[in-house]
Symmetry: C2
Subunit: 165 residues, 2 copies
């Protein structure tokens, strides 16, 4: 699939993100089940709903452009989810497992912060301010989710993980 | 490899980052060769030197802990590099290729921002402020690299990519 202008790159990165969000929607319920801290569990369940909204937003953007997402798996998200699951599996203590879940989730959030930042800038450069605004909403949601995870880690989880029961 | 406390998770995440930096040191020269914009080429070459310094910093941290990094490939970075290379390969216009290089590099920077942020917090929670400081230096370098890439994209590359020659 060749790309000779920014619009085509925009569509390729949008498709990539569409696949990334779909993978995340599959992964988040599993992570929420594995979380020990009720606060972390709630944050992951809430982020699942936010993620579903972001996927719908991407569908609206594709509709507005008269395009469909390519069915190509996002390798970046695949690697992040694979790495995170492995770390979580290897944690034998509950607080350590929670810390590993947060570490993996923050890598995912940052992937999305980079991707949505890029997509928003592409939309603006292409003069598509309506879609630029939608992408900016998703970007802000990802930043909030990242801050919330840091708070949960620093307020309790890491300290418990440092001195497990 | 089981992890039952934060120290073990810290070591596992340090090993992961050690592999990530090594993969990046292999990938950056190739990206710099593919870049068309002299400004982007310079930024990538400069970031290669910064990355080499970050790998040395990780080696110093392992030494200080009397440990060695595990020889396990970081899947997150592997996915990010794979995805980025594919996007770059599919770009047939020089400015579009530069935009794709920047998009991929910013995903990598954000991976490292998340990982170094987590590692620094773990070091601090473990009362290891010397290594916390080293990790904070790498974190700040990654944030600077990300800002610089945004500037290059927004000042020239994206606009050229939007209206290729």
């Amino acid at each position: 699939m060749e790309m000779s202008n920014l619009k085509e790159l925009f569509l390729a990165e949008l498709s990539d993100m569409h696949s990334a969000e779909r993978q995340l929607i599959e992964a988040l319920p599993k992570l929420a089940r594995q979380a020990g801290s009720p606060q972390l569990k709630r944050a992951l369940e809430q982020h699942l709903r936010v993620t579903e909204g972001q996927l719908e937003r991407l569908d609206r953007i594709f509709d507005s452009l008269g395009e469909k997402p390519k069915r190509k798996k996002c390798k970046g998200m695949e690697g992040l989810i694979g790495e995170g699951s492995e770390m979580v599996r290897e944690a034998t203590d509950e607080a350590v497992r929670d810390a590993a879940i947060i570490a993996g989730a923050q890598k995912v959030e940052h992937y999305e912060i980079a991707a949505y930042g890029t997509l928003r800038t592409y939309a603006e450069t292409l003069g598509d301010s309506a879609n630029g605004k939608l992408l900016d909403q998703s970007l802000e949601e990802e930043k909030e989710a990242d801050v919330k995870l840091s708070e949960i880690a620093e307020s309790a989880v890491n300290v418990e993980a440092a001195s497990p029961a």
